[in-house]
């Protein structure tokens, strides 16, 4: 893994072009992004769970997690939820438009450590992208990992993202995708309720399973409790946290939770490292 511009220039982004735009639902869009320069295309690589800072000049900069397979070099995908200025600006981007990219930053999911283990991934809402990258990684290296459950919780049927991907994943060996809708809908015959409801039917070998999760704070809290109830060890639980971020390199202080920096110590944390933190995590 190497970084664009490294240390010498802390803030200068590389230029990259939008290569694809996919409307996932009314408020979420997936953008394909490729670096302009060859050198940058060659040097950029990332781990699932890491993030980049995207700059729109004049508008601002914001962190996003890659949702694509780390295998593709010099190219990555981001799923964006339109929430504020930068994200809104990203919704105005067309194919060929240029953005600034710095990164990748942070610690992702421990894909090395996870080798040989079973995996339960729990995604809520816009928490899906980093986990999607894990799934892509697992599929690309199928032999290295055990059984995989992808549990996805979402409010409404129309909010569902990654429909095609989930279809594709379902075809993979030993990989099960399950979804829970919070609001009942005539088009949906599956599980209705919060995502932890999916835990009830889960039969896992708890000792050999890692639990990964990303989503809104309240969901993370209950998923973590759920993991513990399933018997997954605290040290095998990994959650991805979100805070306001300005620099992405552990300097600006905004993403502090207790003595941790979400950008450099996280965004993916081992549960044991944050369990007894001075400041509330959720």
């Amino acid at each position: 893994m190497s970084m664009i511009n490294g240390n010498e220039e802390s803030y200068r982004p590389a230029l990259a072009a939008v290569t694809s735009v996919l409307q996932e639902n009314a408020r979420i869009r997936t953008l394909g992004i490729t670096f302009r320069l060859d050198a940058e295309r060659k040097s950029f690589s990332f781990n699932p769970g890491q993030f980049v800072m995207i700059t729109l000049p004049g508008i601002g900069e914001a962190p996003f997690s890659m949702c694509s397979s780390p295998k593709e070099k010099g190219h990555f995908e981001l799923s964006i939820r339109n929430l504020g200025n930068v994200t809104d600006g990203m919704f105005r981007l067309r194919k060929g438009d240029v953005v600034g990219v710095r990164g990748p930053y942070g610690h992702g999911y421990p894909v090395q450590e996870m080798k040989g283990r079973d995996i339960v991934l729990v995604a809520g809402g816009i928490g899906f992208p980093p986990l999607a990258s894990v799934v892509e990684h697992v599929i690309a290296n199928r032999a290295d990992y055990g059984k995989v459950w992808v549990l996805y919780g979402v409010k409404d049927y129309d909010d569902v993202i990654y429909r095609q991907r989930m279809k594709r994943w379902s075809k993979a060996k030993d990989l099960e995708v399950r979804m829970a809708l919070e609001t009942p809908c005539s088009k949906w015959k599956g599980c209705v309720g919060v995502v932890t409801k999916l835990f009830n039917k889960l039969k896992i070998d708890a000792g050999n399973t890692v639990g990964l999760s990303c989503g809104p704070p309240i969901m993370l809290k209950f998923v973590t409790l759920g993991f513990e109830k399933l018997g997954i060890r605290d040290g095998d639980i990994f959650i991805s946290l979100e805070r306001l971020m300005q620099c992405g390199i552990g300097k600006c202080g905004h993403c502090n939770i207790g003595n941790k920096y979400v950008c450099t110590d996280g965004p993916v944390f081992r549960y044991t490292d944050i369990k007894n933190m001075a400041e509330e995590v959720w």
């Binding site: 004049g58 508008i59 601002g60 339109n82 200025n85 600006g89 105005r92």
Partner: protein, 255 residues
């Protein structure tokens, strides 16, 4: 979500209701930057500067003054209907300002005209929020002309400008001003929305609170501080209720 569609030149209107018009005068202080504004925006309506003013459609409406009668209320509603983005311009528009002090006083006509005369009963002086949806509150009595420039710039970029939500003390510190409390002068800075650059403390005059109530203000502590620095209870209440008697419903919440 886009506030103003990016296109060649947004159409802008300046409008006025009940106020001292100082905020418009402040606009002229932009000096050379006025030319940039004339160049990058299409000013379609500006009673103070323009001969022909038509009430067409606007991308950005800048509304100065409070609502103090039926005509005002009707007018602001009309402007809102015709505008995509409405800026409440100045403390009068945001909070009612000094004109809203009249809401607290009875027997106005008598006091002003000497003898009781028959006129329609007075309506309260209201901030715009009480009549229409406001997209941006540009506080200040008068406004800070630089803030106007930044807001217009943001809108040109297709960005939603963020309202300041910090106290005047922050401006004070940034300007390296010695806190007036240290010299025994009670100041409204800690409870007042910042963004003015603290011109008053800079000239050793206490902040008077002209930018209105900070959502995050600690009124209890400020009250104690004022008392400690020699103001009477009565006087403190007058100060607290001076520019922003009416809390602004539309502002970001805080504690």
């Amino acid at each position: 979500m886009v506030a103003v569609e990016k296109k060649s030149k947004p159409r802008v209107g300046f409008f006025g209701m009940t106020s001292c018009k100082g905020c418009y005068f402040q606009f002229l202080l932009l000096g050379k930057k006025l030319i940039d504004i004339f160049d990058s925006l299409e000013i379609e309506h500006f009673w103070m500067l323009k001969e022909d003013n038509e009430l067409g459609e606007f991308d950005i409406a800048i509304m100065d003054g409070a609502v103090s009668n039926k005509d005002n209320a009707e007018f602001v509603r009309k402007v809102r209907e015709k505008s995509r983005y409405l800026i409440a311009y100045g403390t009068c528009a945001c909070f009612g300002g000094i004109p809203a002090l009249r809401n607290d006083v009875s027997g106005f006509h008598e006091k002003v005209y000497g003898k009781p005369i028959k006129l329609k009963p007075l309506q309260n002086v209201d901030p715009l929020d009480m009549h229409v949806k406001v997209d941006y509150h540009m506080v200040g009595c008068p406004v800070n002309e630089q803030e106007l420039l930044n807001v217009l710039r943001d809108l040109l970029l297709g960005k939603r400008p963020g309202e300041p939500d910090y106290p005047v003390c922050v401006d004070c510190k940034k300007a390296g001003i010695r806190c007036l409390f240290k010299d025994g002068i009670p100041c409204m800075g800690p409870v007042t929305i910042g963004g003015c650059g603290a011109p008053c403390p800079a000239s050793r005059s206490p902040c008077d609170g002209c930018r209105g109530k900070l959502p995050d203000a600690n009124w209890g502590s400020e009250y104690d501080l004022m008392l400690e620095h020699g103001l009477t209870k009565d006087h403190i209440i007058q100060k607290f209720a001076k520019y922003a008697r009416i809390a602004k419903p539309g502002r970001v919440k805080g504690k």
